[in-house]
């Protein structure tokens, strides 16, 4: 199922399919590990619901919802 990364639920994993066109943040996201084909897992949301902590390539990175919206992922079908 293809969704935005911000739609993932806690504990769900997905493969990154593409990043939408927003030059500055896009490069930043790719460089920090959110590249096409990578496996990302949503670990949890912050107590005030934003940002959210994602597990990517062995690290934990926090992203705001507005930025997670830029990433399209494919959920692993159960």
């Amino acid at each position: 199922m293809i969704v935005k990364m911000s739609d993932l639920k806690k504990g769900e994993s997905a493969i990154i399919k593409s990043l939408s066109n927003s030059s500055a943040m896009r490069r930043r996201l790719i460089d920090i590990g959110f590249s096409e084909g990578a496996l990302v897992t949503l670990l949890c949301h912050a107590p005030l619901s934003d940002p959210s902590a994602y597990s990517i390539k062995g690290s934990i990175i926090a992203l705001r919802r507005q930025d997670a919206l830029l990433i399209t992922v494919e959920k692993e079908d159960r």
């Binding site: 460089d31 897992t41 949301h45 902590a53 390539k57 926090a62 930025d67």
Partner: protein, 695 residues
């Protein structure tokens, strides 16, 4: 915070002059991989380290111990050489344009795939590098083992496996400095490789090496014009040649990538990424049963929905409580010591026949004020800082930023401001420098201008003393009161940040990425001992350089008459109307004004004004202090407003100068003075109004 005397004093604003002869080795890598820890153990220096991203700002230089004629340069961490943020640009420019002999790329064994991405970017421009895979012990705990010789074979460069915390690991790294390898370059897509060949044939033979031509070709495709022009001039490429090769690159982008710079950048970076991935795969073994890719257990509480904020408040309370309770006894001891010293000095000088006009300023001016500063300031700071350093080393601070980001975003500011505010609790000047970790210039300006709202080093003991006299006798109540003051300061910071972002610094929230590093168990005794010693040196240094001269000057002002009264009382009366209007008085205002160089001397100045520098018994005990203040008109409202003004008034001169240096703008430096002062005045007036309403 673990800010060391050298990293937060004036010397941190200068760079150590670096010997241009001998070998220069760069330490580069992702943030938070232990570069600075390695740097410290290799050079014996004490750069500020801590478990969070963005610790090192600016470069640090040091001579390598155990390796003759070698200078090490510690760069700030960066994720990638493409990044645009300020601190990463420092690293990028250094790697491209500085002269150095070798680069050591430090990686975290637990995230090799990510970190080798940067490593390969660096190897592509500087093949004479070494890869140092660090934190091997932590990786092992997660079930990850690295075969370092396999990595070496795959990449073609010397590789070393280290655990920075262990003693003696740096020897492995030092012995690798002399090794060389033969790097296997990355192969890009066919069209790009052909294009690189074309560029090569144009450039090579004009003093440009094969690697350099390759780099120039690639940067023309994926980097901005300014950078390419700078690179071209560094390589000695002439204007005419540059236009030729630029045309070739534009042609390639148009014909193969449909004019999209994004597409060609993606293509290049994905080649680097897949090579990094293969390298990581060939040398990493993960035991699935051990590998915890989920949240660390501690995070369930520390960033959990219901527990995060209560825990933050409780932690704040505890640290303050331990500080207040623990400082009592040492303060008393030091106080007695300095009373004795003053007495001895006075009788000694009298004995050898020194006239009173010289011995009085020395004893009642210099020694008394210096003694006050040391006995009141040193114990709280020597306790608070080590505790905060422990929190920092464990890795808790990014969690604070994670929890509070929503509040900052609501004020159009950046969550990383929480981190700079924590640094401000230590020293506002260092907090201002720390604002480099904020990418957006607008948000950085907001963080810089509001940093002094967090009471620093020099102001904590002032607050503790006044709270202790007027509000709370017990340690617990004092700690609660002080914690409330800090929470108030945070609230006002958010409010003013919001105001700034709606008026002078308008804009929308920018993007923000924050790495939550693994929790690390610090070497507690080592941290405590080093931090206590360091804080002691810092306070003693400040006491000597600021308090002593001030004591002398104040003594002179209070014992020299102009007209019928001492200068000091004339000044005090001059400021009295304004002071009383604010619910304070002339002496208090004068204290703050003359306390511009350092907040530590504010209370001594006020006391000198009250006692006209005259003969006093032990004036630094809380009860004595209390009686002086009360007999000079202090009431509850004075104490409240004093506390308010202590938190919200102009920053110390070091901070103002740092703001000017960091922002390059006199307007912002003035803003950093006016904004907290204005807030202080307004809050004092509000508090005074509230008091008269309710009494």
């Amino acid at each position: 915070m673990g800010l060391t005397a050298s990293s937060s004093g004036a010397s941190s604003l200068k760079e150590i002059f670096c010997d241009n002869n001998g070998r220069r080795i760069l330490l580069a890598g992702n943030p938070n991989v232990g570069k600075s820890t390695l740097f410290n153990s290799l050079t014996g220096l004490h750069q500020h380290t801590g478990n969070w991203t963005g610790k090192t700002v600016g470069r640090a230089y040091g001579k390598c111990k155990g390796c003759v004629g070698t200078t090490l340069i510690d760069l700030p961490g960066c994720f990638s050489l493409y990044s645009r943020s300020e601190e990463e640009r420092v690293a990028r420019d250094c790697l491209y344009f500085e002269k150095y002999d070798k680069a050591v790329i430090v990686c975290d064994a637990s995230c090799l795939e990510r970190h080798l991405y940067l490593a390969y970017q660096i190897l592509e421009i500087f093949p004479n590098s070494i890869i140092c895979v660090n934190l091997a012990d932590e990786a092992k705990k997660k079930g990850v083992t690295v075969d370092i010789s396999a990595l070496s074979d795959f990449t073609g460069v010397p590789c070393v496996l280290t655990s920075a915390k262990k003693k003696g690991e740096e020897k492995k790294l030092i012995s690798s400095f002399d090794k060389t390898g033969s790097y296997r370059p990355i192969t890009y897509s066919e069209e790009i490789e052909n294009y690189i060949n074309d560029i090569n044939s144009l450039l090579i033979g004009e003093g440009v090496t094969r690697t350099q031509a390759r780099v120039m070709a690639l940067r023309l495709l994926d980097s901005d014009g300014d950078f390419c022009r700078r690179l071209a001039s560094e390589l000695g490429i002439e204007e005419s040649q540059y236009s030729e090769i630029k045309a070739l690159s534009d042609n390639l982008i148009k014909s193969v990538y449909g004019g999209s710079v994004d597409a060609v950048s993606d293509n290049i970076s994905s080649s680097v990424m897949s090579r990094a991935k293969s390298a990581a795969l060939c040398c990493t073994k993960t035991e699935k049963s051990f590998f915890k890719s989920g949240m660390p257990i501690a995070d369930r509480l520390l960033i959990g929905k219901l527990t995060a904020f209560p825990i933050m408040l409780v932690l704040l309370f505890f640290i303050l409580w331990i500080t207040i309770k623990g400082a009592n006894y040492p303060s008393a001891l030091l106080r007695d010591l300095f009373v004795k010293i003053e007495g001895l000095a006075a009788s000694g000088l009298r004995y050898i026949g020194v006239p009173n006009v010289i011995s009085a300023p020395i004893c009642e001016g210099i020694i008394r004020v210096t003694g006050w500063v040391i006995s009141v300031m040193l114990p709280p700071m020597a306790i608070f800082f080590p505790l905060f350093t422990l929190l920092e080393d464990i890795g808790y601070l990014p969690r604070i930023a994670f929890n509070l980001d929503r509040c900052f975003k609501g004020c159009n500011a950046c969550g990383k401001q929480a981190l700079t505010m924590c640094m401000g609790l230590g020293c506002n000047a260092a907090g201002v420098i720390g604002c480099r970790i904020i990418d957006s210039p607008r948000e950085r300006a907001i963080a810089i201008l509001t940093n002094s709202f967090m009471p620093c080093n020099g102001r904590f003991p002032m607050l503790i003393a006044i709270i202790g006299i007027f509000f709370a006798n017990s340690g617990i109540l004092s700690a609660i009161a002080l914690a409330s003051v800090i929470v108030l300061a945070v609230a006002v910071t958010l409010l003013i940040s919001k105001l700034l972002s709606l008026t002078v610094l308008k804009g929308v929230p920018s993007s923000f990425t924050l790495e939550l590093p693994s929790y690390r168990m610090p070497n507690i005794t080592q941290v405590l001992i080093r931090s206590v010693l360091d804080r002691t040196l810092f306070v003693l240094g400040r006491a000597v350089s600021v308090a002593a001269p001030t004591g002398l000057i104040i003594w002179i002002l209070s014992n020299t008459d102009i007209g019928n009264a001492p200068i000091l009382s004339s000044l005090t009366s001059f400021f009295d109307p304004l002071g009383k209007f604010m619910g304070l008085d002339g002496a208090i205002l004068l204290g703050f004004i003359l306390g511009l160089p350092a907040n530590e001397i504010v209370i001594p100045i006020i006391l000198m004004c009250y006692t006209s520098g005259g003969a006093l018994a032990d004036h630094s005990s809380l009860s004595e202090l209390s009686s002086i203040l009360v007999s000079n008109g202090w009431s509850l409202i004075t104490a409240v407003n004093f506390i308010i003004f202590t938190v919200f008034h102009w920053p110390c001169s070091t901070t103002v100068l740092t703001v000017k240096k960091e922002t390059g703008s006199i307007k912002k430096a003035l803003g950093s003075v006016i904004i907290p002062t204005a807030v202080g005045v307004v809050l004092c007036l509000i508090s005074r109004a509230a008091f008269s309403l309710f009494s």
